[in-house]
Structures are given as C-alpha cells and as structure tokens.
Symmetry: C2
Subunit: 441 residues, 2 copies
C-alpha cells in the first residue's frame, strides 16, 4: 500500500465515488474536477472521480452524463473505487450504503450527522474491521474544523466542556428576534424566504439537528459513545419576543446551545451531559456575538483553556470544504499508508440524567399586583434550596410580571419549584422558564 511519491513508477490514482448530488455533492464534484492538479500534488496521486450516484440521471447537472448512475451499490462495488463520499442525507439508505462501502474495504467520508448520531458505533466497527477510514468533519459546523481539533489537536488534553451554536437556521431566527423585535413566527417566515429555513423546519427549530451534532461532539470529546437518544433536547418554537426583551434587560441574548459537559457527581464519578436548549447568554460571552446563520464552537480543556472556532456552519461550499479536507486525508492514507484516528470510546462514561444538571435559570411569572406576592414566590424557591440571584418587577396591575434569576440549581429542584409556583394563588401564569448559560457565576 505504501507508494512513496517520487519513486519511478507513477502512483496509482485514488478512485472516488460520490453518493448524492445536492448542494454539497455538486460542490464536491466541482472541486474534484476543477482543482485536480492541486489535489494530486497534495495527495501524491491523482484523485479520480469514478461516478456520482443520483436518484435520476439527467443531462442538466453540469457534469458528463456518463458519470451519473442510479446504481449506488454498483458504483461502490467497482474495483477502482477506493473512497466513498456520502452526501445523500436521511438515515436508512445512507446507513446501508456506507456499511456496504466499509465492508468492501473502502474508506468513507460523510457529512451525515443524523446517521452518525445513531450509528457511529456500528460504522466505526465496520471501518475498524477492514482497517479503513471513516471521516466526518463536515457533519458538525460545516466548514469549521471541530472534529479534527477535538480528536487530534486536543488528543493530549482533557476536555471539560464543548458549547456551541451549531444550527444556522435557529441562530438566524433568534438573531432576527433579538435585532428587530420580531416574534418567532415572523422571524421563521423571514428565514424561510431567505433560504435559511426549510419548508418543514422541524429538524432545525425543535433542536433535532443540533442534538445529532451534540451527540457527535460529546462522543469524541469524552471518548464515550453518545447517541442522539442520550441528548436532552428543547427547541426554540416557544421563545417569544417578550423573552428576548427580558433577556435584553438582563444584558443577555437568547441562543440555541448544544452543550457537552463532563460533570463530576458528589461521589466523585465522571459523567457526560449532552443537551440542547435555548438559553440566555450574557452579551460579553463570545457566543453572544455569533449572529445570523454563523456557527461557533467553544471548547474548554484543562491545559488549553478556552478555544473558539467560528465560521459558516452550513451551505454547499463550506460543507464541501470540510468534505474535501477529509477526502484528501483519506486519499493520502491510501497512497502513503496509515489511517486517521479511530473511534475512541475507552472512557465509557455514564450519561448524566437531566435532573442532575445544574444551571442558572430565568423564570418569568405573571402575578397579582399586591403585597406579599414576592414573599410567597421567594418562599417556594427557598423551600427547594434554589437561591435567587435577582428579582425584578415589570408592569403593574393585572399585567404585573416578576422576572426571577436564580443561582445554580439542579433541573430537578427548579422543575419542582416551577410546579409549585403554578399552584400559587398569587401567580397567574408561569410565562417562561429559560436556562442561563455562560455567566461568570
């Protein structure tokens, strides 16, 4: 397998099959064809496109029609295909095709977070069995290198926390609500018009996409298998313009965060928490200024301190940049011998249940405007050991509201406090409960 460049015989070309020709696939194909000379110099052998698997072969795709095929399995099976790039999306079909490729001893590059968040274990084992590469930098935060920094650059450090804005659609919506005062429905509609939200935005706005990415990040950061089902998840569809107004009053904004954390329980045991929810973030936190469709990931490790990675988290070209980086690495490994990092799951930490997670909270209550309300409300927090950091009353009469900010408390204590507040006669409604992340305290 080891063919050093510079030896007398020309190195064998590396054959690539691309599965899928959507925005990412088309851009990958374009780069393979347009930048062939650069890619060959970087790999040490020509990178040759063997074919592109599509649902329907048509002449208007801008590539020679003989490169197109509807027979993905047949394309993968070709002897002259060494690496398979999977950019189809979905789960069942790509799972089958990626397995087929790995089982046949082909390296795989995929951008498919939903697939990886469910089946990394199965796929990594298949790759291991055949000693081939499974790369997926593009699955998290598009063009922004986060997988490679976590698996390689920080391989000698101890990661404590990864916190990211990893979904551009929701970040666009929340930024718009913050900047223009729009309500959720308006901002979502605008995101749809601009192409930032899909016709069915559920996967984005309900946090499923971010949860897949959180599962992948938590797995590699903590050397533990974490799947999407292990990730606690809340979306942004219940965030109101009033929440943003209250956030502004607290010098915060609201962001949908993917948080992967190593927590140490009272008995000294390390556990992994992976969770996705909208949270108040102080304006001075580096993630607060990540606006529009941009992504950013903050990594906190013992020796490195806090690192931040920022850039375009989606779109054809940025995602293709990440796919191409992986493709060049997989091809180099074919030419020079060697393999990229494998799945690392030795730590095998337990998943911490949400009830054990401690954060700060913002609670917005509609209350009766009379003496004693604050005392009654404060008593419910105190009873459950939830310490209050600040309280502010807004408005008066029937519209009076109390905004309560707590110190760190468990999800369990806060939830039971909220249930009790809901029963209080002087509380008309618990309007909203949001976590506060990234504050100094």
């Amino acid at each position: 397998m080891t063919t050093e460049t510079g030896t007398s015989q020309a190195p064998r070309p590396v054959g690539v099959a691309v599965l899928g020709h959507g925005t990412v696939g088309a851009e990958v194909v374009r780069i393979i064809r347009d930048d062939a000379a650069d890619l060959e110099a970087r790999i040490g052998a020509p990178l040759e496109l063997r074919g592109v698997a599509v649902r329907t072969v048509s002449e208007d795709r801008g590539i020679p029609v003989e490169l197109l095929t509807t027979d993905a399995e047949g394309l993968i099976a070709r002897d002259d295909v060494d690496i398979v790039v999977e950019v189809i999306g979905g789960i069942d079909l790509p799972r089958k095709l990626v397995r087929t490729a790995l089982d046949a001893g082909k390296s795989v590059v995929t951008a498919n977070k939903a697939l990886l968040a469910e089946y990394t274990g199965e796929l990594a084992e298949a790759a291991e069995a055949k000693h081939v590469d499974l790369y997926f930098e593009a699955a998290v935060a598009g063009a922004i290198p986060v997988i490679r920094p976590l698996t390689q650059s920080l391989a000698g450090d101890r990661v404590n926390r990864v916190i990211g804005i990893v979904n551009g659609t929701t970040n666009y919506i929340l930024s718009a609500m913050d900047e223009t005062g729009a309500d959720y429905a308006e901002a979502l509609a605008e995101a749809g018009r601009l192409g930032y939200a899909e016709a069915d935005p559920t996967a984005d706005v309900e946090g499923f996409d971010a949860a897949s990415k959180a599962a992948i990040l938590a797995s590699i950061a903590f050397h533990t298998r974490v799947t999407a089902a292990d990730v606690y998840r809340e979306g942004i569809s219940k965030i109101t313009a009033a929440d943003l107004t209250s956030a502004r009053a607290l010098n915060c904004t609201v962001k949908l965060l993917a948080i992967c954390e190593r927590i140490t329980t009272e008995d000294g045991k390390d556990k992994v928490s992976a969770r996705v929810y909208p949270a108040l973030v102080p304006r001075e936190h580096p993630l607060a200024s990540v606006s529009g469709a941009f992504n950013a990931v903050v990594v906190e490790a013992e020796a490195s301190g806090r690192l931040m990675f920022y850039g375009q988290g989606a779109g054809g070209a940025p995602t293709a940049s990440a796919v191409m980086g992986d493709l060049v690495m997989a091809a180099r490994n074919r030419v020079q011998g060697g393999r990229g990092p494998r799945e690392s799951k030795y730590a095998d930490l337990e998943i911490a249940p949400m009830s054990e997670i401690m954060t700060r909270y913002y609670v917005n209550l509609q209350v009766a405007d009379r003496a004693g309300v604050l005392s009654a409300v404060a008593a419910e927090f105190a009873k459950r050991g939830v310490s209050i950091s600040a309280v502010r009353q807004e408005g008066a009469g029937n519209g009076a509201r109390l905004v309560v900010l707590t110190h760190r408390a468990t999800d369990e204590a806060l939830s039971s406090t909220v249930a009790a507040l809901d029963e209080l006669e002087s509380v008309t409604a618990v309007t909203s409960v949001l976590r506060l992340e990234g504050s100094a305290e």
Copy 2:
C-alpha cells in the same frame, strides 16, 4: 511497525525524550506523568518518559532526579526513545538536536517557531529521509489549532488569506493603549510587571516573533517555502497614544497583524505575500475584539469562506496542550503505522515584494493652518494615483493636523507620496503612517 491494539501481545511502549524543562517542558512532563492512563488509551500503547534534558540537573524540579540529564545527545540516541519533544528555544542548539533526532529515525514535536521559520526545509527533508513525523502545532498561536486545520481540514480547499494576531505581548500592549490611553512606554512597562513582556522585549515588540509565525503560516497555507527573511516586518515601538486616539476617531483600533496572502499580479501570476506590521483594524472586524494576551487567526479560503480560531496563544499550559496533541498523534503513528502530513511545497510561488502590496493607508500630518494646504497635500496623493477616501482636520494654528485615509494603493505609490509630503513647505511633519486592514474597502 503496525501493531493493532486488541491483538494478544501487549503493544510496545512509546518512549519520549523531552528537551528543555522551562514553563512548557515542565507542563508537558507533568501531563505525560499525570495523565498516563488516558494517554495510553488514546495511543493504544503506554507513553513512557525516558528522560528530560536540562542545562543543570537539580532536585527542585518536582520530577525524579534520575529522569534528568545534561546529555541531550545521549538521551536522544537511546534505543528506547521513539519521539523527541523540543521545547528549548533558541535556534542553533535545537537545530542540531532536532537534526540528530530526525537523522536517527525519531519523530520530533517542536514548539520552536524561530527554528522552523529558518530551517523547516532542512528539517522536513531530514524527516522525509527517515519517514518520521515532524509536528509543530505549538509553534504558532499556542493552544489554538491552526497548523492542523490548514494542513488537513483545508487540504481540499484553496486558501487565499491568513491574517492573525499571533503575539500576545504586543496585543496586550496595544489593547492597554487602546483601553486606558496609556502611551507605549507605560503599556510596555505594565506588560513587563504582569509577566506578559520579557526583560528584553525586542523579539516581540519589533515583530520578529510574529514574523516567524507568519513564515510558518504562509508556508503551509500556500504550499511554498517561506522563511523569516521573506517576511516584511515592522514593530509597534513607534505607535503613539495619538495614533490610538486617531484610530478611535475612525472607529478602528490598532493591532499587530501577521498577514499571509495569495496575490495575483497583473500578468495573472500568483505570488505569496507575508508581512507583519501594526495596522488600523475596523471595530467590526472579528480581530478588533481580540484583546489582552489572546491570539486569533482568521483564515479565508475559497469554499470555506472566513473561519476564525481564537484562544490562548502562549503560556506553559496552553502551549503544552498543543505539544501533547502532536505527541499523541506521533505516538499513534508509531503504534498504528502511518505518518502525519509532510511538508508541502509543490506550489513554489514567488514571494511578492512589499512594493507591490496594495492596502489602504492612514497618514497623519502636522500642517500649517492656512488656506491651500489641503489642496497642496491632496495634489501629491493625486499625482501618484493614490485616491483619498477621507480627510479630517484636527486642531488649529501650529498644532493643526490633517488625517488622511486613502483607498487601496501600492506600498510604492504611498511611500513616494509620503516622501513628497515631507518636502512640502506647508507640511511641518509626517507624524505617522499606518496601514488600514480588514475594512470592507
């Protein structure tokens, strides 16, 4: 060499020699000893510290004295040393030791930017001859992964520009001048008191350190050998409190930038420009908010768009984090077979002379306060084709000053304009000339 983990025989340990026991070396040694179990799991074999080369063996280093030696060559030569970590600093001695290690078939991890900026070519060839790794993530921007993203994540993309704040000392000084109005000498003294500036700060404040890093970044970004001598360099010691005041008035701050750029000359030829100088940076640019001793690197590539990497660029622990990442990768390669990316210099682009570089300029003039001055000044710019974007007069009488902001012009045209202005009767003095980078135009 390929020993798969999980086979019946225990994998051979990987032996490490650390050269140097300063702040970085001590932290590397601490991590190797304290995190042995994690490192073994990640590498697939135990990582064993064979010895630490120091100038004087003493008992107060916090490590067993039998690990210490003054005989670096002897330590490197040991049969059970597979990887050498060089964190001595300086150029001549580390050059000799790193060469010795590579020639003996040991992989090398170094944090030594000054060495690499001069001798990457020689060292990369030595590594190539013995098929071993030469890793140097820690040489640029401490804990922040930039070498690996450039050589691997962006291996399939086309980098157009790398622009960074890569020296913490100068960034601390310039941030302090911006925030407190201090002059250069005061801010330097404060940086010294806080441990951000060395007793002899020349390498930092005159831009030598940043120039070494620019050479390394330009080499890997543009697949071309660039050495420190190819980097145009200006330091910050002539920046005044008045420059910061003028910058603020233009909604800018002043940063010492390392800029690596691919420029296309009029005849369609690609050249590399690498340069270090203090420049005005608009407040809205992501680098403007990088303050204190932090580092940040912005990478602009064709498909990825703009990426930013941010974190701690110096200090024992952050630098050790980067060294440890490289060490784990080099050790994995020993255990599993394979090698990291080699030097890539195939593009072999010409270095663009500074005279060809186009940027915008800020020119601060002390002028006679009388009619016709502006017209005389403007005429000198116009004669040389330097288009003025904005002019502002500050003060009156003998203290009258003109602040001129230009559109993009070549260094050559601007220099000759400044020389002519200096000759003008109505211009008392050209107080300062700074470039403006990162503006929309």
